[in-house]
């Protein structure tokens, strides 16, 4: 069915611009992307902006409620925890621990996944089938369980939790990129490019990568939310980052003892974590919808 449009003009803007225009139409996703950008900014600048050290204990200011409460102080806007540490400073640094490390973990896993996944996608025969079987096993294991296993081997600690999350996400990335590469290698434009005399590197760089990049971005956005969640969960059950560190999950676990007295010490880090994950999920969802719409056009 041909649609008649009055003011139609050929759309010559780049695919990314079209994607962004479609993304902007979804207002929820747009607001979420601002929140997401703000959280990234906080992950980078948070430790510099924090008014106090996250480890500094003030013995005369234990369990001060937030400043909007009648008995709160203005010098610590979000109040203090059971050891007199300023919650605002801890949350600011905590964003760079949980959210920042989550993004970093995705970037590291993506780099390795791109390398191994592309090599696997190009390979054929017994090597490919062997890798498939190994990947099948690894993919059945949920990432958090793999992370728990790796932490059990390496021992608790934030650095080990980080590597555990990276290794746990790696199979998904490899699988995703390998299927993409293997699918695309059979497409006509890649075969034409090969017949032009391009070697494998050129095929990857100029034919595959530009076509995969959008899928990779969307997949990575979804992976960020699970990485942040995994780091926080490991911190919460006490086998990730350890107690004085201002990681959001660990902070919640630390304040459980004073849950009745000062619920804000549990609620505020939780809200921050929730906002980080929610904004990431909505942005990922919005991007996916925008991409779907653009492909329909």
């Amino acid at each position: 069915m041909v649609k008649f449009r009055f003011f139609s003009s050929p759309n010559n803007s780049s695919p990314f611009k079209q994607l962004w225009r479609l993304f902007q139409k979804n207002h929820f996703a747009l607001v979420a992307s601002w929140v997401f950008a703000f959280m990234i900014l906080m992950a980078i600048l948070g430790p510099l902006l924090a008014p106090y050290s996250p480890y500094m204990q003030q013995a005369d200011m234990l369990l001060v409620p937030p400043s909007w409460d009648m008995s709160g102080h203005i010098q610590s806007p979000f109040g203090t925890d059971a050891l007199g540490r300023d919650i605002l400073s801890r949350i600011l640094v905590g964003i760079s621990y949980s959210f920042g490390l989550g993004i970093l973990a995705v970037i590291v896993a993506l780099t390795f996944g791109l390398l191994i996944g592309t090599l696997a996608g190009f390979s054929k025969g017994i090597r490919a089938s062997f890798l498939n079987h190994i990947l099948d096993i690894a993919l059945t294991m949920p990432s958090l369980l793999i992370a728990v296993v790796i932490v059990a081997i390496l021992g608790p600690g934030i650095a080990n939790a980080f590597w555990a999350v990276v290794l746990a996400m790696l199979p998904q990335f490899i699988h995703h990129i390998r299927t993409d590469v293997a699918d695309m290698l059979n497409k006509d434009f890649v075969i034409a490019y090969r017949l032009d005399g391009a070697n494998s590197w050129q095929v990857f760089r100029f034919a595959l990568l530009p076509n995969m990049i959008e899928n990779i971005v969307i997949f990575s956005t979804m992976a960020i939310s699970s990485a942040v969640l995994d780091i926080a969960v490991l911190g919460f059950i006490g086998i990730g980052s350890q107690s004085p560190e201002p990681e959001l999950g660990t902070m919640i676990a630390d304040s459980l003892g004073v849950f009745y007295l000062s619920p804000w010490a549990v609620m505020l880090p939780g809200i921050t974590l929730f906002l980080c994950i929610l904004s990431t999920n909505i942005v990922g969802d919005g991007l996916r919808h925008a991409l779907k719409e653009r492909r329909l056009q």
């Binding site: 059945t140 958090l144 728990v148 059990a152 939310s225 059950i237 999950g249 929610l278 999920n281």
Partner: protein
């Protein structure tokens, strides 16, 4: 079908091999002495060392050690715990039923909630309903499970006092454990306070089930909505509509049968995630299952116990995945065509 069954069986064999090799290699990966990891005996003295090493084939090649390890696994000799010296095998199978119970109730609950909501969201008649259900599901999807648990405890246990905060059953009830599944045990026991015990067990179950079900529910809502939308747009449904079927008949005869197939597949894919989330839920609600037991073992660096726990949890996840996959294949003949060694 038989061909497919055979393929899955060979995959199961391959997986079992992989998992046992991995768990065996943990003996060498853990920081303590290899013999201690295998046997669970700490501080072995010089005289005993040779005898125990003989029993665990430590002086032979790695292959002999591996086959000895598999033999001991089959015999039920999984070593003893570093902490209390009791048999790991007995400990694991004492705590496992509680986890299975929790996971099954959570999955059932999410099934009951998610599928009607997904079907409601899929219809074009109420766009606002679709939007609000989707928004609810993305919020539930993004909620850190431990935080959700704390919120619910704050509201329903501390604020309103409706449900207890932790445990599986109040300590005043003494239920003899036979199968490990609490409701079954209560029903089978001959006590005169059965109904009170059942009510108490149910009260303890509500919050953990709801928390654990949050994730599968949101996933199922999204899957059901998408697959129902796809099915309702197919030509055979449109043809049936033209023939004059009411929307109820349409849903019963064509929609549900085809639309719920991806849901079975999704259950299989997400069963592993549910089990790991069960670990977190158990830690928060002090539920005496394998998850909190494993986390305790990690805290105490009880390496033989970690091995046993990992073996059972990963084995359970793999077997369940393959079973769900077989179920999917039985119901959906179209999916059998490209069943190449894929989980």
């Amino acid at each position: 079908m038989l061909n497919y069954f055979y393929r899955k069986l060979s995959l199961l064999f391959f997986i079992t091999f992989g998992v046992t090799v991995f768990v065996f290699s943990l003996n060498y990966l853990f920081p303590t002495d290899v013999l201690s990891n295998m046997s669970g005996i700490t501080n072995i003295n010089e005289i005993d060392y040779d005898v125990i090493a003989q029993k665990y084939n430590l002086n032979d090649s790695v292959f002999t050690q591996y086959f000895g390890f598999v033999g001991r696994l089959l015999d039920g000799d999984w070593g003893v715990s570093f902490i209390n010296g009791t048999s790991i095998f007995n400990q694991v199978f004492r705590v496992l039923p509680a986890t299975i119970e929790l996971a099954i109730y959570a999955l059932l609950y999410s099934f009951i909630i998610a599928i009607p909501l997904g079907i409601l969201a899929s219809s074009d008649k109420h766009p606002w309903l679709d939007k609000s259900i989707l928004a609810l599901s993305i919020i539930g999807f993004s909620m850190p499970i431990f935080w959700l648990a704390l919120l619910l405890i704050l509201i329903f246990s501390i604020g309103l006092g409706w449900f207890p905060t932790s445990g599986r059953l109040s300590l005043i009830y003494n239920i003899p454990s036979s199968s490990g599944f609490l409701f079954l045990d209560i029903l089978r026991s001959n006590i005169d306070y059965k109904s009170e015990a059942l009510a108490d067990a149910f009260k303890h179950l509500v919050l953990p089930t709801f928390v654990l079900a949050a994730y599968p529910t949101t996933v199922l809502i999204r899957t059901t909505r998408q697959s129902m939308k796809d099915v309702m747009n197919t030509s055979y449904v449109k043809a049936a509509k033209i023939k004059g079927l009411t929307s109820g008949q349409l849903l019963r005869r064509h929609g549900l049968r085809n639309g719920l197939l991806p849901v079975i597949q999704m259950l299989g894919i997400h069963f592993g995630t549910v089990i790991t989330l069960a670990i977190v839920t158990e830690v928060i609600f002090a539920w005496p299952g394998i998850g909190s037991w494993l986390v305790d073992a990690i805290h105490q660096r009880d390496y033989p116990a970690i091995q046993g726990g990992l073996l059972v949890i990963s084995g359970m996840v793999f077997v369940a995945t393959i079973l769900f996959d077989l179920l999917y294949m039985i119901f959906d003949p179209l999916a059998r065509r490209h069943g190449h060694g894929k989980i």
